[in-house]
Amino acid sequence: MSILSLLLATAAFVLLGLATDAHHRRRFGQCPPPSRRRMLRTGGWLALVASVAPAMLARGWIFGPILWVGVIMAGAGIAFLALNFLPARGAAGDRSCM
């Protein structure tokens, strides 16, 4: 259950990160169209909210919230490292997206 929570939190932050101009360009070679950005953001937030449940199921009401906070930190850390250090297809190029 804690693993599931971690996976959801990691997915959440990867989606939120991809919704930013810089990372979207790096990964997909173009700026995110507004609809797609909205989709990524919504998906990210939903996954983040969803990661609460398994944390509570795993550790109960006292340690569950602590676990969850730990999990979102770990998830954000993994997402941060993955987004910034995994080699990307698209070139970084200039960062303006207008």
Binding site: S2, F13, L16, G17, T20, A22, H23, I62, F63, I66, L67, V69, G70, I72, M73, A74, A76, G77, I78, A79, F80, L81, L83, N84, F85
Partner: protein, 533 residues
């Protein structure tokens, strides 16, 4: 938000972070290492076998004390676990007539002849004298070579500054939350800033929690007024916060003490959790009492419940009342700070967050110089304040890790029979650190940075190799018997060693880009990477 407010907050962030930043760095490093306190207690005593049957240690402890100190005032026996090196027990002798001794447990140091370590086989072990992981735990808030009370004030003050720095940082740079996925590499100041932001924001819940709860651990000292206003006698406060069973008078009639294993088993059944400490008062007397405290590993609050038994019949005579809401809250916060409840996974998370905090403080300190270097009127001859900060950064950020590496080596190499051996281990740390500090102030920073990092790296990488060759607790031997704690410490040291070496190389190879910035963002990326490895 008005510009004036933002600017004042930025000012606050810069200076609250800088002034006590070096102390914060020490506190963060030592505190982060102290999350592995129990593991290091074992790692620093490689001659000790792992505890597999805690009850055997307890029986051995009782047998030893019954022979050695049958008429002591009290015995204090920690219950051994698989994580501990054994039972570091001690006893308090009967006070001589006319000599009043205060609270025995808080007697502090100087009880050297009344304590002994019982090993896995229930016998006294002759282990090397060392402070082990306890050193980092105490240094984290007591520092060293100075009166404890000064150190705590200093650390407490630094912690308050930290809280101010975190808050003003959030207020000033709201953009960090939008930008925190971004890491621009090899871009000088921008990269430092991104690294500082990333380590700050990624572990922000941890930073806030650890700083705030850190203040809670010192609150009675920092803000004594509530206590002073409500209680005239400190002892009453103490008794209310840490209730104990009513004291019984020694009868003078001898009576055999019950087998402590039976009491421990009963207590663990009633508490529904492992026991951590057993305290026997007036052993061998008809009025003997046995108190058992629940282990802090099993619950959030650090104020654990206690049970008291009649030491002869084994009847339960008292159990601690549930603590008040305020005491429970404080206990929970201290528990959260120390993370004793955490299993191995949680420990790692605490550790990684601690590293993030360390990097945040270190990068913030370096950022101060990076930012100002560009604005110096004459970069070849900076003003005094700039040079001071620059050199202090080298001395502390570069020197302290080197000192720690030397501490571990001293632990391995100092002769076992050396008098004051445990002290010399600590002296080794501070001597190495002092030398590094002298070097930092004498030689150019561009030379000292890579030299210190490289030395630290070599020392750390060599430690597991030494363990492999010279002790029977090498990495593979530990893995073979499934002792993941010791194996993990060896492996982690190697990883950190390589990280330091890599760091040294990056710093040494860096050529300032058109005299703008001295160092590449190597430091940040390297330390951020560490957790992932």
């Amino acid at each position: 938000m008005s510009k004036g407010f933002r600017q004042s907050q930025a000012f606050l962030h810069t200076w609250s972070g800088l002034l006590l930043g070096w102390i914060l760095f020490l506190v963060f490093v030592a505190g982060t290492i102290a999350f592995w306190r129990e593991g290091l207690n074992r790692w620093t005593r490689p001659e000790i076998a792992r505890v597999e049957q805690p009850m055997r240690v307890l029986a051995g402890s009782q047998a030893f004390l019954a022979k050695k100190a049958p008429d002591a005032k009290s015995w204090i026996i920690p219950v051994a676990t698989e994580r501990s090196p054994g039972a570091q027990l001690f006893w308090v002798p009967q006070p001589k007539p006319g000599e009043e001794r205060g609270r025995g447990r808080r007697g502090g140091r100087g009880r050297g002849d009344t304590q002994v370590l019982i090993g896995a086989d229930g016998q006294v072990v002759q282990a090397r004298e060392t402070r082990g992981g306890e050193f980092f735990y105490r240094f984290h808030f007591d520092l060293h070579y100075m009166p404890v009370i000064w150190a705590r004030w200093l650390v407490g003050f630094a912690t308050m500054m930290m809280l101010v720095a975190i808050m003003s940082g959030i207020v000033t740079y709201k953009k960090i939350f939008r930008d925190f996925f971004t890491l621009r590499r090899a871009k000088g100041q921008r990269s430092w800033l991104d690294g500082h932001n990333a380590t700050a924001v990624l572990a922000l819940p941890f930073h806030l929690m650890i700083t705030y709860t850190g203040l809670v651990t010192l609150m009675a000292m920092l803000m004594p007024w509530a206590v002073v206003a409500n209680y005239t006698d400190q002892n009453i406060v103490f008794a209310k916060l840490f209730p104990t069973a009513a004291v019984v008078e020694r009868t003078g009639r001898p009576a055999p003490l019950i087998d402590l294993r039976r009491i421990a088993a009963d207590a663990e059944r009633r508490l529904g959790a492992p026991a951590s400490f057993i305290e026997v008062s007036d052993p061998g007397d008809a009025a003997a009492r046995v108190s058992v405290s629940q282990s802090a590993n099993s619950m959030l609050s650090s104020r654990t419940p206690r049970l008291t038994y009649d030491g002869v019949s084994g009847r339960l005579v008292w159990r601690s009342p549930p603590p008040g809401a305020a005491a429970e809250t404080a206990g929970a916060m201290i528990g959260l700070h120390a993370g004793r409840f955490a299993g191995d996974g949680g420990r790692w998370l605490y550790f990684l967050c601690g590293i993030a905090g360390t990097v945040m403080v270190a990068s913030g300190l370096v950022l101060w110089t990076v930012k100002r270097r560009e604005r110096l009127p004459d970069p070849t001859r900076p003003h005094f304040g700039f040079r001071l900060v620059e050199r202090l950064n080298v001395a502390v950020i570069g020197g302290f890790p080197l000192g720690i590496a030397c501490f571990f080596w001293a632990n391995r190499l100092l002769p076992v029979m050396l008098r004051g051996r445990a002290d010399w281990e600590m002296h080794a740390l501070f001597i190495a650190w002092a030398l590094a500090a002298v070097a930092a102030f004498v030689v150019r920073p561009a030379r000292v940075w890579p030299a210190l990092f490289a030395a630290t790296g070599v020392l750390l990488v060599a430690l597991p190799v030494y363990d492999l060759v010279a002790t029977d607790r090498g990495l593979f031997a530990s893995l073979a018997i499934g002792d993941l704690m010791i194996a993990g410490i060896d492996a982690t040291m190697a990883v950190f060693g390589f990280a330091f070496l890599w760091l040294a190389r990056r710093v040494a190879r860096h050529r300032p880009a058109a005299k703008r910035v001295r160092k590449a963002p190597a430091v940040i990326t390297a330390r951020v990477l560490e957790p992932a490895e």
